[in-house]
């Protein structure tokens, strides 16, 4: 056997999460990810994936970067630094957005939480966090705003799945149970969870209901243990990056380094909605932001490639890096490239995301993927591949 996908082992410079000891004690298989040594799986990718779909999973996301931007001009600074309209975000709400380069390419995709009128928390991908921090510092110059890297002091754990609300609700004061229940998607509130001061956000990356809990790094272990104890009776299990990846893929969510990178604009990724070209400043004047000119010239233009969802019709899944081809044609006539792919645990068939040339991007188009020298038939389907059942 030789593993034809990337072999993942810890690098000597990888940072450890505040929960590293917990992962080792749980027997986790650890992997290098974004400069951190993080759990790939604890027991079984499939069991962890299914637990999140059917009950709940507990993820350590302490590798994510947390950057606070605060000050009287924090909102204006972020409107300049990011493609979104952060001034328009209400206190207590959050927004999915991006930080782009001058040429409109994506440096990172972000979730920004507005914690106060003058206080924002920017959450960046682990591998991009140093760059995002440096760019925010640079782009906030000239504004009355302070950028503080809080990654080292902050732990982030996510409770995801249909039982997440019950589990988090069981760990807050009786008066706060309703607060947890009423917390809207992409909203956050500061609460004591298991006796620990936490920022509780109803966000996630799994396609399920769930919460992300930001706590001081020193209290991460206590929180982790208490969430596990509270959740285990209803089926919560610790879940690793492997399950996180298959969950987000089913949910059609992009992963930086796969669907997004510095050669990609938000429009190609089908995420043009996050780009707010019509932002205005406090006086109502058009507001320039980093990347605006390049993005404005691309809006409405046909991108060179389009991100699509592929359903595999055979058994062999397409994987990241495989070529998308026209069935039966010369295999070197490549019309696209797979960015993520896996056998879907929930759906039972292979799924993938791929960039293809626009003329082959219509739903229902039958294409093929060159899976290690042999064509596998695929068809373009709408994303997300999986949508959770709506219960309320």
């Amino acid at each position: 056997m030789t593993d034809s996908t990337e072999q993942q082992t810890g690098g000597p410079t990888d940072r450890h999460s505040p929960l590293h000891g917990e992962h080792v004690a749980l027997g986790a298989n650890l992997t290098s990810f974004g400069g951190w040594l993080m759990p790939l799986r604890y027991t079984s990718d499939l069991a962890e994936h299914r637990a999140v779909r059917e009950a709940a999973g507990l993820f350590d996301l302490s590798h994510m970067g947390e950057i606070e931007v605060s000050g009287p001009q924090a909102a204006a600074a972020l409107d300049h630094a990011l493609v979104g309209n952060l001034t328009a975000v209400a206190v207590g709400r959050a927004r999915y957005t991006m930080i782009c380069a001058e040429d409109g390419s994506v440096l990172d995709d972000l979730v920004v939480y507005r914690l106060g009128a003058e206080r924002f928390l920017v959450v960046a991908n682990a591998g991009n966090a140093p760059l995002v921090t440096a760019e925010l510092v640079r782009r906030c110059e000239g504004f009355d705003a302070t950028v503080t890297d809080q990654a080292a002091d902050t732990a982030l754990v996510a409770v995801q799945g249909p039982r997440a609300e019950d589990i988090v609700g069981s760990l807050v004061a009786p008066d706060d149970v309703q607060v947890v229940k009423d917390l809207k998607y992409y909203a956050s509130v500061e609460l004591r969870v298991a006796g620990i001061d936490a920022l509780v956000a109803r966000t996630g990356y799994t396609g399920e209901d769930g919460f992300e809990l930001f706590v001081p790094a020193g209290q991460a272990r206590e929180l982790w243990q208490k969430v596990l104890a509270a959740g285990e009776p209803v089926g919560l299990v610790p879940a690793g990056l492997s399950a996180r990846d298959s969950l987000r893929l089913e949910a059609g969510m992009p992963l930086y380094g796969h669907e997004l990178d510095t050669t990609t604009t938000p429009y190609e990724a089908g995420l043009g909605r996050v780009v707010k070209l019509d932002k205005v400043d406090a006086e109502g004047a058009p507001l320039d932001f980093v990347g605006r000119a390049a993005l404005a010239s691309r809006k409405g233009a046909q991108p060179a490639r389009v991100l699509v969802g592929l359903r595999g019709l055979g058994k062999r899944p397409a994987r990241a890096g495989y070529a998308v081809v026209i069935p039966g044609k010369e295999p070197d006539v490549r019309i696209g490239l797979v960015t993520s792919g896996a056998p879907s645990p929930t759906l039972g068939y292979p799924i993938a995301m791929a960039y293809v040339t626009p003329e082959f991007s219509a739903e229902g188009t039958e294409l093929a993927v060159d899976v290690r020298g042999r064509e596998e038939p695929v068809v373009i389907v709408p994303m997300p591949f999986y949508r959770r059942p709506q219960t309320s």
């Binding site: 056997m1 990718d45 062999r316 056998p343």
Partner: protein, 123 residues
């Protein structure tokens, strides 16, 4: 510490070989654990000729895929339909119920002892 059956032979590509007649081929517990949950097996058909050191199939997990190399040259006598139907057998019992193929062997390629294989994988 991994415990590899002493009565089997091993390859550096993480296959095991039971040199019975016919010989039995599978993948080691180390390989199965590295792959994670195995969800799909592609194996040669009965009667196919296999060559020591050549790719004869694929083992897919949710996370990755590995090619399967034949440790022997010969003719496939049987494939493990139970493992094809339920690939999780390979994770659960890599050295027993999760065997992959049986081969009428004409020649055996380079193999390792259990101790040598254990040393190779750092067990």
């Amino acid at each position: 510490m991994a415990d590899f059956p002493a009565d089997l032979q091993y390859t550096a590509e993480h296959e095991w070989l039971d040199a019975s007649t016919p010989a039995v081929v599978g993948i080691t517990s180390t390989a199965a654990e590295a792959l994670g949950d195995i969800v799909y097996l592609e194996l040669p058909e009965v009667g196919a000729t296999v060559t020591a050191g050549a790719v004869i199939g694929e083992v897919e997990s949710t996370k990755s895929v590995s090619e399967l190399y034949s440790p022997v040259t010969g003719t496939v006598a049987e494939v493990n339909q139970a493992a094809i139907d339920d690939p999780s057998l390979v994770n659960a019992e890599p050295f027993a119920g999760g065997w992959l193929i049986k081969v009428d062997v004409t020649e055996t390629g380079p193999v390792l002892t259990a101790d040598e294989y254990s040393a190779l994988v750092g067990g």
